[in-house]
Amino acid sequence: MAETTQNGAGQAGSGSAPHTLLGADELILNMGPQHPSTHGVLRVKLKLDGERVAGSECVIGYLHRGVEKIAEHRSYQQFAPYVDRMDYVAAVSNGLGYCEAVEKLMGVEAPPRAKVIRTLLTELQRIASHLLWLATHALDIGALTPLFYCFREREEILKILEKYCGARLTTHAFRIGGLQYDAYDTMEKDVERFCADFLKRIVEYEDLLTGNRIWLGRTKGVGVLSGEDAIAMGVTGPVLRASGVQWDIRKAMPYAAYDQFEFDIPIGKNGDTFDRYVVRMEEMRQSVRICRQAIGKIPAGPILAKVGKVLKPPVGEVYHAIEAPKGELGYYIVSDGTVQPYRVRIRPPSFVNLQAFDKMARGHLVADVVAIIGTLDIVLGEVDR
């Protein structure tokens, strides 16, 4: 059955000869942009033979705000809050990437204390982002309850972020050159309490899902992406690592204070949805490990390097990438020596990872399409920018 459909599959709408199981016409199903599980405003045109996907096409741009263009008309500091609105479930990570890119362009470095606090908050944000992924992914596959458990834990992280900078979602937590706010008094205690609770709670999720026959059936062998394909398509982050490629920018090209901490990079073997699930679950544990090390050694000292009120980076260009929760988040900034960037180009992980969707979805059923969208962990704010 799969033979017949997979061979006859071209791009959706490309007019290849219909070659379906029953010789019937193919059904073009328009999934989204308003659909409960396309994670925002993704629109997927599916070419279906019965319930089997014969081809697909992602239509994006419904959330395009021209973030890169806006950057050309803002000063470097003014643009910083805009990047929070890209991957809005991991705003801290976005801010870190941007601040470090501008610092690199200007040749300044954040003080050690700022670096450790940045690392700590970014790892907390990674856990929050992964929790949101788990919640929605499980919901897409039909498990209702993990959603509420995950939001319960995510809430604790958001509380810590709120205590730190006053905002929960679009935090604008960092400043170019370091930090605006110092760590609040009981931050170490809050983080430690969260870490201790979270390690117990994550066992609950695994109880609900990892050994569950239905969960295994729905995730194993679904949306397989080989390591070569993943590299060829520029896929990064947990999706790449689940395909067995050990590539994590935190280890490969350490930034912030990651070189001071010990942590492992979990990798998968088969590159299927289950492996991506396992990799992300393990990443959350590793993030807890980093957080625990970080609260132990936040150095004393200043939190903001001397950068001055008006930023005028020298003429030049810079590319700086960080390991955001969803993959490699890169900023390419060109400076013409004025207070505004000449050009900012952002490499968002979700956008690049979404490329792999068609390859992963071919030959699977409609039910798997939502599982694959979920496992890619895309955020449309970042795809469309």
Binding site: R152, I214, A367
Partner: protein, 450 residues
Amino acid sequence: MTHGLQELLKAVLASPYTLPVIYGVVIVAVLPLVAGYVVLVERKVMADMQARLGPMRVGPHGLLQPIADAVKLLLKEDIIPEKADVWIFWLAPLVSVTAGMLALAPVGIGPAFQIARDINVGILFVAGISSLGIFGIVLGGWASNSHYSLMGALRSAAQLVSYETAAGMALVSGLLLGGSLQIRALVEEQAKQGVWFVALAPVAFFIYLVASIAETNRAPFDLPEAESELVAGYMTEYSGFRWSLYFLAEYANMMVVGSVATTIFLGGWLRPFAGVGGAAGTALDCLPGALLLGVAGYCLYRAPKQPVAVQKLVMVAVAGLCAALAAALLAPVFVAQALWMKPGIHGAFWFLLKVGGYIYLFMWLRFTLPRYRFDQLMRLGWYFLIPVSIVNVMGIGIALVLHWERGMHLALALGLTTLMTLAVAGVLVRAELKREEQLRQGAAGDAYAG
């Protein structure tokens, strides 16, 4: 003139159809309310399992939420898609809800209270009528003229065909043991044998449990309305009152399968150890009353802790209600004059408790398990449930023949049958696991071929 009226009234009262008609009207009037409160219970149970409170705003602890929901649904704009087939679109939900309600007709809530009447093909009637509900779903999905609806309808049709067979086979096992299709006879047979059929044919009960979840389109088999895939499946284009009819049909169907399972496998309105008399019997008879007294006591204990006066009042009122019910349940046990009430109200208590437990199990599964995929659902039905149920029915037939003809002890014969069926199930599971393993070794992308 008045004489004529009196005559007419007498004739009406004497007619054997009067009481069933009144019952029927009551059911049609009450069922939506019951369904609404089952939904409230479901939301509260779900909230409890998900570390939150559930509806709390409308009335104390959300007690009036179903009423508010019903009003909202009735007042909503009635939308019929432009390209829908209007007549079928209009008719389909009615078919579903009628089938659901009609199937409740012969269900016996107690020895004294059959909803309509005790027809002699009782179980067959229930099974037949409740399967008609699928027409409402298929027609509704088709008439909506929407891709999601169509796919939901197709899934639903395939699902029902696959699981009706297994459910039917499981029912046949129970009917073989009971020797009748009539509901009262089935329960009385269980009373006579002194054992519920779930103990004699546990495999059949399990198969019926799984198949009935699939038949009522509940999670983890809720593919026809799988929200994350098909938006709302066959109900996507429905809104307002029509949508609520589908909703009502779903809950009516849950009550139907719960009642059938209770009647055939769980001893209907019998209390546990129905044959036990004497002091132990009296103690068991006190159980319903004691249970309600316990609830009343707990409500009184919690009442002072409620933050708002109105909530305290409601807790006290609920406690009073429970205490009154407890008194009614205890009276026949201790007061000789009230003995005639005992079979009726005790029967109703046990029956509703068992149906409630069955539905609770449905809810519990829904909040715990992810959803099956369509091919997995079909595989489970055709490669596991149907073969196992057929083997089980044949085994039970053989066991009964051995019991009647050769005088073999019934429990022994049926125990051997159960073991044999479990062995067959084990072989099937092993074959399935092996197949999965092979698929994983081979091309993973082609994992669903065949």
